[in-house]
């Protein structure tokens, strides 16, 4: 045991790959959306590690050694909260032995704090299929929530790196200006479709729909995380035919084939969208590019399919 210990230690010390370059704040983001917001504030001065890929279902992420190493060295970990990462983040943080990142620690930021969460179940009845007892965690699809979260992130980053704070604040005000300006554009693009209903695979677009006055309460999944069953799909198809819903949103990690099957029966359009920067081409680390892509894809589909 002792020899293998010293061999392992020697190997770990000798190999240089784990030494990360650069000073500045070390931030780990669970998902690429928070990473994009942090990048907007911190720029290249912050060393940033993203745990889930944009094309990966954020409810399931495979543990990698680099996750633990990055967490071990991180000053700050930003998670969505509301149980989104409940299945995989706690054991990684426990494994990282970084006390600052434990719940309540100075380095743990809950993205959902300060955001008004939707779909908080009134009765905690698990049989209704709500995985997220604290509410729906896909809140960044409402751009105003992105503003709230970015302001809070800036505060946290300022506290940990006071020297860079002025530049963080400058970047924040630029972010806010861009957000205000884009909000007008996005609202205008979707305004003609006010009240339209869309079908989504998972309950990801509630916040988006609420902000832009759409309705997104029909899901291809019968319950969050449960694959579509034939009777459920049949009832969705029935409802779509009855109410004339003609747009189905799918994300890269969801079953496009299911959406296509429903589309064949209803004449609907399947639209590729993503809640994560990088999940659509040209949107890496850029929240605005992502929302531009989402809004224009949805507006185009609603325009093409809506009643004329």
């Amino acid at each position: 045991m002792r020899t293998s210990r010293s061999i392992l230690t020697a190997l770990l010390i000798l190999l240089p790959c784990l030494a990360e370059a650069g000073g500045g704040l070390k931030v780990v983001a669970t998902t690429p959306d928070f990473a994009a917001l942090i990048h907007a504030i911190g720029g290249d001065g912050v060393s940033l590690k993203i745990m889930a890929k944009a094309t990966e279902d954020p409810h399931f992420v495979d543990a990698r050694p680099s996750h633990i190493v990055s967490l071990n060295r991180a000053d700050l970990v930003v998670e969505s909260g509301a149980d989104l990462e409940a299945g995989w983040l706690p054991p990684l943080i426990e494994g990282s032995r970084n006390k600052e990142l434990l719940p309540g620690g100075a380095g743990r930021v809950l993205g959902s704090a300060g955001v008004r969460l939707l779909d908080v179940p009134e009765v905690l009845d698990r049989s209704r299929g709500d995985i997220h007892a604290q509410g729906n965690p896909h809140f960044l699809m409402d751009p105003l929530n992105a503003g709230i979260v970015t302001r809070r992130l800036t505060e946290h980053m300022c506290r940990l790196d006071p020297a860079s704070c002025p530049s963080f604040r400058e970047n924040l005000s630029r972010f806010e200006r861009t957000l205000d300006e884009r909000m007008l554009r996005w609202t205008a693009a979707l305004a003609p479709h006010r009240g339209a209903s869309i079908v989504t695979y998972h309950n990801t677009w509630r916040y988006f729909a609420a902000r832009f006055e759409l309705v997104a309460d029909t899901f291809l999944e019968p319950k969050p995380g449960i694959p579509p069953s034939p009777p459920h799909l049949a009832s969705v198809i029935g409802r779509m035919k009855q109410t004339g819903m003609r747009v189905i949103l799918v994300e890269p990690f969801q079953s496009r084939r299911t959406a296509e099957k429903v589309a064949r029966h209803t004449g609907a359009t399947v639209v590729d969208v993503c809640q994560f920067p990088g999940g659509l081409e040209g949107t890496e680390l850029d929240y605005f590019a992502l929302m531009d892509a989402n809004v224009s894809a949805i507006a185009r589909a609603l325009g093409g399919a809506g009643p004329r």
């Binding site: 770990l12 010390i13 680099s66 054991p91 426990e94 494994g95 049989s127």
Partner: protein, 276 residues
């Protein structure tokens, strides 16, 4: 904080726990019931699903462990009953059927529950990179108990696997009892290791070292020692590569599985050299 501390418990898990799997692997390979571990793990998973659904409906914490244990023992009973029906139905078919039916049944049971896949995955599929101290210690304790049990009764267990003809005079009922004890303890080992390291790693640790041992030695003890050496080297090498692979960022479990695969290729080469 040295990096060593980060990987201490994964390392201990890899060094301490697979030994007993290598031993069971000798049995499994000799009996030709290669996929019995997957079937037992899947039956245990079905038990966990039932516990989840009962727990959610009654609003109290279910005794998940007891449920999975009970289902594992049911599986062990089925395997020990079906051993001698192989006139027309090979046992491998029974194993396959049990696997696929319990996997499908688990999906059906879970569709009654809210938490679905997520809960099941986090309960059943461990990742060796994330093991905790308490997991390693508790599982090690369990394995020591089972090892002692098998060591004390080694004549019986070895003869029911390796000398079936000599064991036959025990009579059908006694033989089935020993078979049941074998599959029962095996089920405990498999399900607890699945919770630590996931399905692929269990399967590889069972089968690959045993096959390497069979290639290189005719004696049971020889196979066991070779198997242990291979499990230890491949496991530690896999962890090191996964933790150090620059830029690749390899998940640990699959890296160890590939290392075991590599050691099988090396053993096959060595066996060839030995023969010529």
């Amino acid at each position: 904080m040295s990096l060593f501390d980060l990987w201490l418990w994964p390392l201990l898990a890899i060094v301490l726990l697979p030994g007993i799997l290598v031993y069971f692997g000798l049995h499994v390979v000799e009996r030709g019931v290669i996929f019995v571990d997957l079937a037992l793990a899947q039956i245990a998973a079905l038990g966990v699903c039932v516990a989840i659904v009962i727990g959610t409906h009654q609003g109290h914490h279910p005794h998940t462990y007891l449920w999975s244990l009970a289902f594992t023992l049911i599986g062990a009973a089925i395997f020990s009953m079906t051993r001698f029906h192989h006139a027309r139905v090979p046992q491998e078919a029974v194993i396959g059927i049990i696997y696929v039916v319990s996997a499908a049944a688990a999906t059906l049971v879970l569709s009654r529950s809210a938490e679905g896949d997520e809960a099941l995955k986090s309960l059943l599929l461990g990742d060796v990179l994330l093991v905790r101290r308490s997991d390693v210690l508790w599982t090690f304790f369990l394995y020591v108990v089972i090892t002692v049990f098998h060591f004390v009764l080694r004549d019986k267990f070895l003869s029911i696997t390796f000398h079936e003809k000599r064991a036959l005079p025990m009579g059908g009922a006694r033989l089935r009892l020993w078979d049941f004890l074998f599959y029962g303890t095996f089920g405990l080992v498999v399900t607890s290791f699945v919770q630590i390291a996931g399905v692929y790693l269990v399967f590889s640790y069972l089968i690959v070292p045993a096959v390497c041992g069979a290639l290189l030695s005719a004696r049971i003890l020889g196979r066991l020692v070779i198997g242990w050496a291979i499990a230890l080297v491949a496991g530690v090498a896999g962890l090191l590569v996964s933790v150090n692979a620059e830029g690749l960022d390899l998940p640990t479990g699959p890296t160890i599985v590939c290392m075991l695969g590599l050691s099988l290729i090396l053993s096959a080469g060595l066996a060839r050299l030995k023969r010529t």
